[in-house]
Amino acid sequence: MNCQEFWNTMPELAHEAEDGRFEHLGECSACAALLNRQRTLASGLRMLAADWRPVEAPARVESRLTAAFLGQAGLRVLHPATRWWMPVATWAAAAAAVLALAIFLTRDRPVVPAHRTSSSRVQLAAVEPPEDLEMLGDSSDAGDDFIPIPNAARIEPNEDLNLVRVEVPRSAMIALGYAVSEDRASEPVEAEVVLGADGLARAVRFLD
């Protein structure tokens, strides 16, 4: 076996005990030296692999993918035997969230005369609509006049949102900066509430 034939067998990719090709190394010190270098290189590659073993994708990739997975899973038809409770749980969460919103908006808040309404609060609501409401997709003007619920979590990109229409006393509008006259405070008003994936209200808009 000459050098060409020896290297054609790709000896650096084989184990020494495999066959008799390594007999050539006894006759050729140059090939023996080169094979040694190849083995050192292989050791270096193993060290590089070990060095890089702890390297992994940033945690934000997992968060994004998990959100995408949950969104995708929500679109699938789920097996009724295993997921029969999902609609019940969803509606229960929505009802609880609406109730919590109604309590939040109406509790211990005096009816404020129209002339005392703070204009800065109205402005704040107008200039800071929830950024992600276009994801609702069921209304062309969605996001135009939604008001973020004070202290509620921000709507995350790709978050699963639900839109629920409810009736609340008109006095509930005062908490969000609307002017309401005393004589109409007890009248019901229709509102649309955006619920986050956790079932909590994120934003609201009044329909009249």
Binding site: N8, Q38, A42, E62
Partner: protein
């Protein structure tokens, strides 16, 4: 008492397809690092590696993929998607650092390597030089080194990922190792203070 064996990728995939979030997270955590490292070694860009990792698993979520467990492992399948995505990124961004050279046509491994360059491999800067040399390999050699040497994918699975026979994987790896030795040697010779050594030639 039977010990609890970890679920296979295919079992996790089955549960994931049924909407089980924990199965998806488990599968992702098991496979993401290798996919990310593969993309990083191939592109040299953390941003591309992040994008590719995300797109690989998004494809899995959307069931766009035609994974068939009869044809190979899920791991190999994910590497295959990652490879295509990296190529797409590279073509789009022209960020491929490696250039095809006439060195590839020679049949014998180059024998101009000096031992100092290899001794360097045992040091931190030597390992970094090796990483840069891998990144500078032509793409078809780089991918076999990354898969087989750095991610320890066996030749059979690498052949499936690359869509070529096992013999081709072996010959590319053989050529890639020779190119790496040469690149390391050149890098060492171009360092300040390095002495140019006479190439060794095998005459037998």
């Amino acid at each position: 008492m039977t010990p609890n064996l970890p679920e296979t990728d295919d079992e996790l995939l089955l549960r994931m397809r049924a909407g089980d979030e924990r199965a998806f997270v488990a599968l992702y955590r098991r496979r993401q690092a290798a996919i990310y490292r593969f993309a990083l070694h191939m592109s040299g860009s953390a941003a591309v590696a992040e994008d590719v990792t995300q797109e690989v698993f998004l494809a899995l979520i959307r069931e766009e993929c035609g994974y068939d467990s009869q044809r190979g492992t899920l791991s190999g399948y994910l590497f295959g998607i990652a490879r295509k995505l990296v190529l797409r990124h590279v073509e789009r961004g022209r960020s491929d650092v490696a250039l095809e050279t006439d060195l590839e046509s020679s049949a014998l491994p180059e024998m101009t390597v000096n031992d100092d360059a290899l001794t360097d491999l045992m040091r931190r800067e030597g390992i970094e030089a090796l990483r840069r040399s891998v990144l500078a390999l032509p793409r078809r050699y780089r991918e076999v080194v990354v898969l087989c040497d750095l991610e320890e994918v066996d030749y059979g699975e690498a052949a499936l990922v690359l869509g070529c026979p096992i013999g081709t994987v072996r010959s590319r790896l053989h050529r890639a190792r020779a190119l790496l030795l040469e690149k390391l040697s050149k890098r060492w010779q171009h360092r300040p203070g390095a002495i140019a050594l006479k190439p060794i030639r095998c005459l037998i």
